[in-house]
Subunit: 622 residues, 2 copies
């Protein structure tokens, strides 16, 4: 090696070291910044003992059939509230009342929760849930976080596109996803265009009786209805729905339902249809008051939209509706003002199934197409006039200005976000504080639990100009949508009222009794710390003897009126379990079809002597 | 007011202000310290995106029947693994295989998880679960986090005191909680002492076939068996169990089972009994090989213990067993060495049901009685020779030295802790890093969800001399016990192997077919992004036509061999849903008892065209 070469080599090494030093300095700096960021993120989600989360997130549980309740910002899961699926942890689907409410079904597919609204704002009183699997709608009372009514919907094929409520909860709307023949008739798929229909259910809910009613249905072409939203303020009388499969494909929809460049948004004026129904202008179909657009003009319209849209969302001020393209890489902003003008002017380009089709150019305000952003599915809002879109394929959230279409920020989500939920995001006054991205794929984000991965959620701080990804959280399958409501709006009761006139209730130990009526045995019993009293007259008040084949009713009242003192009631080997909350009366009904001796015990840890809270069911052989 | 009085008053005010200033200065200082502590706590539990939790916590789900998997230190819930209760979110209890495994039962009461062990250390291969409700034991394969076997146990009345495994998983032991007549006979409660029995089930599990076997049972007096543990090292051949109700009370146990000052710990040498069984020295009772202590000497002993104990736990080195008093405010340390000596010397004070009762004074090493600490329930361990006890009544964790009995630290838990779980806490080598207190009452700790409160868990850092409470977390009802295992021990598979010889599997699209055998219709189908192929020969490969009354089998294979690509399969209005994981084949069996048209759809979001992944079941009317 020559001197020159040596010098070159040394210089090279020195230069390399300098580069390395600079690089490491930068790296350390970046690392310190990242570390500082992480501390700040950690503090943002940490809720110290003694404090409470600021928001409830009410998340659908998808095909679990249940509601998942989270606290935000901690992202701690607080509770699974059973809706469509039995839940032995709370006795739901085991007690007589809840078993009857489930009507023999064992699951549901809950996609879109909607909190009841007053003047377009969440009022925190009830939450509604759709069941895509078995065509039902349910209501959860948010004073007790219990399901209070479930109604089956005729003529439906999976009410995926619900539930969304009108701004004073006048209606809970559920459009169907899969077309089926009306009245559950059999018809071959060759007759799809003529015999299969899409149906929208317009249901009402009475807050006093806590019962649903099916007000009316709308029969529509056999397009697939995907998502919907209710108007607000100037658009308050309307609902909007996206459709796909305007091709009427009956097989291989992956390809065949993606042929047309445009599908439709369907607009419905629910107030006008309400008047039609009141005037008796409907047909009875399978017990439903059915509205047909071919008979009713002036209430139902269609707007062409980029192919196979997923979400359509009304802006907080009610002036626009925004479609997310799914198969088209853009969001389309439509103006309600322009829509109403086009309707007024009869600016129609076509008619389908009696439904006038409005001119796209006349009602469209803007197409927003961020470069490289693919698979927009759903739009949420903040308090500063911005929209947030989930991008399923490019795995990101895009923030943009509704007035100008300007893209303000983009942040990754992990991975493939479906919907997003913003704090008070579906109301007339979003809070602009937190956004949760509900992702469909989690890959390696969390400790592996085998082939069936958890879903994932990203908590994103949207209070600043730029979004900040704070935390990723795993979740059981499968949240599709959530609503985030401020804690001040939820007013719970923690102990049921002591109502001495309540049917089947027993409040005094000496009133606990067993009554036989033919082959029915009615036990009017008490659960209290730390014993059961079934029969005050017996030497063994916590034992009940019946005959094999008897129909047995345990009417049980929890007379412990203290917060958080739940008593369970399980019968060993009889596959039976239910619960009574403080002050609650509930009934378990079953046939004692197995002779023998079966321990009864409190299944919910209630006191220091919980283990001693037990008794026996003795079933004398025939 | 005199001048003197005025001066006094002013001085008093000044002094008061000084005190106030000093107080507030202190308060601010304390507040800043607290704030610093909170930052540090926040950082301890924050796991940034891209990193993983260090430990899995496998928690029982109580009467939910399921396993809850958490990450530690983040305390994020990763997954609900269904064991005893159907779970539509994963199709568990709907597919033919899992439905048969559940055997018609709809719930279980899962109290105590036990991870399989090799040489006294968690090996991370399987997890075992007891069902107090319906007398079963289950195994979860931790390579897939799925339940692989459930076995019903005869002669049992709620195997509460299990499951605990011996140090090489030779046995999974399950002692019963409620005495019942053997062989499910009927006997009046007046015959309790003669006819009712406590039974211990000794089950084995074959890791190759993944099946349980009931090796033998032990019949014991009708005491209630509450908790148990297996010995380690020098005590490896033994199991220990606590009892209550040595009074033989048959009613109002709250009072009647708390009369005696002492109940018993029962010690069983499982190895000796194994030899007896091998030699044919047992009676057949209801299909079980039953060992009776009246016939077998030298393997079963009783030790008196302070009244109504809950937990009994063997120290990591296997030298001692510690009973938690529940109704006596103390922990009792027993020496195995002294126990073996007493057995050797036949240092017996009594005999019950053929069981020699050892002298308390001879085998007891120490009583640990921290002042004011009430309701000890369970003991866990660290790597420095310390024990940690949950105190149900005084709501705290007490740390004390096993050798000296010295109480080292006490910290509150919120509220009423049952068990606690320490990192690797049941092994021969605990990690001494984290302790989770599993609490029974949460009161106002979290956002209210009505009368049915979440349970709560406290994460406590036990790496220092003093314990540090880090975070409180809500949880669904109701974890009773958990085990915390290091992530390095869990080896999962994320995609099932493509096994072309697997029964009913179909891997090529052209092989998808429908075969009719009498009134059985077998569909050999494929699920893939983003379509179903049931019948490659049909114009509509994603539609199946059957006749009303047919028995239908959908054998479905997911041929997407990519991580996290799950396909669901729901049939609208038919109350049916199941899933296939990547590479998995599974079967759904049902009777098509309703004529009409029923949409089939993928229930687990799988791809951008997931909504299009649908088809139809057409049921022709009879």
């Amino acid at each position: 090696m020559t001197t020159k070469r040596i010098i070159s080599a040394v210089l090279g090494i020195v230069a390399g070291l300098l580069v390395a030093v600079v690089f490491f300095a930068d790296f350390n700096q970046a690392s310190e910044n990242a570390s500082g960021d992480l501390k700040s993120k950690a503090e943002k989600v940490y809720v110290p003992y003694g404090e409470l989360d600021e928001y409830y997130m009410m998340s659908s549980g998808g095909h679990s059939g249940q509601l998942f309740v989270y606290g935000i910002p901690s992202m701690r899961k607080i509770r699974t509230v059973p809706i469509f699926t039995p839940d032995p942890a709370t006795g739901y689907g085991y007690s007589k009342e809840t078993k009857e409410m489930l009507g023999g079904f064992t699951w549901g597919d809950f996609h879109h929760p909607a909190i009841s609204e007053t003047a377009g704002d969440y009022d925190g009183e009830f939450l509604f849930a759709n069941d895509v699997g078995n065509n039902r709608v349910a209501a959860v009372d948010l004073s007790t976080f219990t399901t209070v009514d479930i109604m089956s919907l005729p003529n439906m094929g999976g009410p995926h596109a619900g539930v969304f409520v009108t701004e004073n909860t006048e209606y809970i709307a559920l459009p169907t996803r899969f077309a089926r023949p009306l009245d559950n008739k059999y018809a071959d798929l060759d007759k799809y265009e003529e015999e299969y229909k899409g149906v929208v259910s317009m249901t009402t809910f009475d807050k006093e009786t806590k019962k649903f009613d099916l007000a009316y249905q709308i029969v529509l072409p056999p397009w697939s209805y995907d998502l919907s939203d209710a108007g607000k303020k100037m658009s308050g009388d309307w609902i909007v729905m996206t459709t796909y499969n305007s091709e009427f494909a009956t097989t291989n929809l992956e390809i065949n339902a993606s042929q047309n460049d445009r599908d439709y948004i369907v607009l419905v004026n629910w107030k006008k249809l309400e008047e039609e129904v009141a005037a008796g202008n409907y047909h009875d179909v399978n017990g439903a008051k059915m509205i047909d657009p071919r008979d009713h003009k002036g209430a139902i319209y269609a707007v062409p939209v980029a192919k196979s849209p997923h979400g359509v969302d009304v802006t907080p001020d009610g002036t626009r509706y925004i479609a997310a393209g799914k198969l088209a890489p853009m969001m389309t902003v439509f103006s309600f003002e322009k829509t109403f003008e086009a309707i007024e002017k009869e600016d129609f380009t076509d008619e389908k199934f009696g439904i006038p089709v409005l001119s796209y150019e006349s009602v469209m305000e803007r197409e927003v197409d961020p470069p490289g952003a693919l698979g927009p599915l759903h739009t949420q809002f903040d308090d500063k006039g911005n929209a947030y879109n989930t991008m399923f394929i490019s795995s990101e959230i895009v923030k943009w200005n509704i007035e100008t279409g300007e893209v303000i920020d983009r942040t990754p989500s992990y991975f493939s976000p479906g919907h997003a939920a913003a704090a008070e995001g579906d109301t007339v006054s979003p809070d602009g504080k937190w956004l949760v991205s509900l992702n469909k794929i989690s890959k390696d984000n969390f400790l592996s639990v085998g082939p069936s991965h958890p879903e994932s959620m990203d908590l994103i701080d949207i209070s600043g100009e730029k979004m900040e990804h704070i935390m990723a959280v795993p979740v059981d399958p499968e949240p599709h949508y959530a609503q985030i409501v401020h804690r001040d709006k939820i007013k719970t009761v923690t102990v049921y009222e002591k109502d001495e006139n309540r049917e089947n209730s027993v409040w005094k130990q000496e009133d606990a009794r067993v009554e036989r009526k033919g082959d029915e045995v009615h036990v009017y019993g008490i659960a209290m710390r730390s014993r059961f009293i079934f029969d005050a007259q017996s030497d063994r008040p916590d034992a009940v003897t019946v005959k094999e084949g008897d129909r047995v009713f345990f009417h049980l009242t929890n007379i412990d009126l203290d917060q958080d003192i739940t008593h369970g009631f399980g019968i060993n080997e009889y596959d039976l379990n239910f619960e009574v909350q403080p002050g609650q009366t509930s009934t378990l009904e079953f046939v004692a079809d197995k002779a023998g001796v079966y321990p009864i015990y409190c299944t919910n840890f209630c006191s220091a002597l919980h283990q001693e809270m037990s008794g026996y069911l003795l079933v004398e052989p025939k």
